[in-house]
Symmetry: C2
Subunit: 300 residues, 2 copies
């Protein structure tokens, strides 16, 4: 069974003046979603949205994707229909069309999505461009998807139709494509990545790629309305699945960077430093190491 | 853990005058290989080679790939080293470099490889171009990899260093990249695909895509030296994993098509017909339906 173009491979016409951006992402039953609990429709939406987020993080625009799906024979009926429904809605919303893939049978549900995107020649933003003195920014609010996951665990499959914003962010995340593209084309960001595994884990990766360190101001981390207290800050620092953008900006550029983009907050949360440590400033008197405590499949 | 470029996504420079060819392929423990029996080195080689074969089947040249790997923590040492060794050898041989991917942890070993290739603008050969009257060709010998699989099952992991050609074809297949490119650029092939799931299964797919039927001459199916008898013919008609090319050629073009390409046999094995049936001519008196009896994950 082949999906999409139905040939051995998909054909794609690159646009002159653009580079191709390529990314693949696992979405596995048991690790990334629960077969019996997560709606198949959300699984379909999220497997594409999270892969597209990696394209957004380079400043690229998604164009097409390959769906690799392995399912048990028992799931080729209703589950598959609902899964494909969610996937199609995401594909339409993200303007990213299915170009092919590979489908096979397996006892555990396995999904891998490859997204192909484009970025204007020379405009891609890498993780490795952060320099000491750059300001550290995040888009939107952090920790909201983690809060949504906690709500989902409490409520289970039969969530009310009127979903809370947090639950919606957990089930149907929206990658920041326009923002990423705008930051890249206007050369605001010196380095950028998406926040999929939690700020404390992902910031470490950006700093490692750039050969720098960072200090994060705890009180500056933007939390969703109604989130407060130590637990909420923990969600903001370590919670995964937000798919917001983490980016660094040269101090001069930061002066002309608006603090909102299409209604989305852009918040400075700290600074890039020469030392290789990742630190958290709790108040004027205390600075502690910010240990990577987000998602890491080999540490769980 | 990220492999390759270490950024959110890989950047790739398309070549002017070329289209991009994209394919993804599963390679799963239990379905496509056995953890305890197949050498990790062969798993690494074969997962890339079989995905590249889909690029060859379009007349394309492979350029880079994304490796998606999920392994148990127990396999991050020696198994992973040997796997990456086989993968690197294949990447060098196939001139296809690793550009990125995604690695996570899972109890079952999961591999998905996406290959990006190029084909000259307008020269890609699809499955859908076969027309009644076209001659049906295959490259090389059929059924050899199936014979190798049988030999492997008898001998197990401790195969002798001097592998038989059949065993080598099972463990370290070589996709027909040069042949595919040559057939495409010289416009010999009206339709083309690779033989991964067995002639009887794959021919059905090519005919369906083209809206035609076919008659295969049983006595014309090329078998490896020493293969004879009904069982050998069964391997040739239904055995998978050969990664040879199946292609159709207009009768006029067939006259100028040499019967060898760089020492590789190109054998006419039948003809495309107007009717939608796939038939096998056993002798002058008997023609029987050729039922798809190769690999199909949803029928096993």
């Amino acid at each position: 069974m082949r999906l999409g173009c139905g040939d051995d491979a998909a054909l794609w016409q690159p646009r002159p003046g653009y580079q191709t951006v390529l990314t693949s992402d696992w979405f596995l039953e048991g690790s990334h979603f629960l077969r019996e609990k997560h709606p198949a429709d959300s699984v379909g939406w999220k497997c594409l949205a999270r892969a597209v987020s990696d394209i957004a993080a380079m400043g690229g625009i998604p164009r097409c994707f390959l769906l690799n799906l392995a399912i048990p024979a028992s799931h080729t009926g209703r589950w598959l229909d609902e899964f494909l429904g969610g996937l199609r809605r995401a594909a339409k919303f993200l303007r990213c069309s299915m170009a092919g893939g590979d489908t096979t049978r397996n006892h555990q549900i396995l999904i891998n999505v490859t997204v192909v995107g484009e970025v204007k020649q020379g405009k891609a933003v890498l993780r490795s461009g952060a320099r000491p003195g750059d300001l550290l920014f995040v888009s939107g609010n952090l920790g909201e998807a983690e809060l949504g996951l906690q709500e989902f665990r409490r409520r289970g499959k039969h969530a009310p139709k009127a979903m809370s914003p947090a639950l919606r962010k957990h089930l149907y995340p929206k990658p920041q494509i326009q923002l990423g593209q705008w930051l890249a084309e206007n050369q605001f960001a010196s380095a950028m990545m998406d926040l999929s595994d939690g700020l404390s884990t992902d910031l470490g990766r950006l700093c490692e790629a750039s050969g720098v360190g960072a200090v994060v101001e705890e009180c500056a981390v933007p939390l969703a309305r109604g989130m407060a207290g130590q637990e909420a800050i923990g969600c903001g620092l370590h919670g995964g699945d937000d798919y917001e953008l983490l980016f660094t900006v040269h101090p001069k550029q930061a002066q002309r960077l608006p603090r909102q983009y299409q209604g989305l907050r852009l918040t400075p949360i700290g600074e890039i430093t020469r030392g290789r440590q990742i630190l958290l400033r709790i108040d004027d008197a205390s600075v502690v190491p910010l240990k990577p405590s987000g998602w890491d499949p080999f540490r769980k």
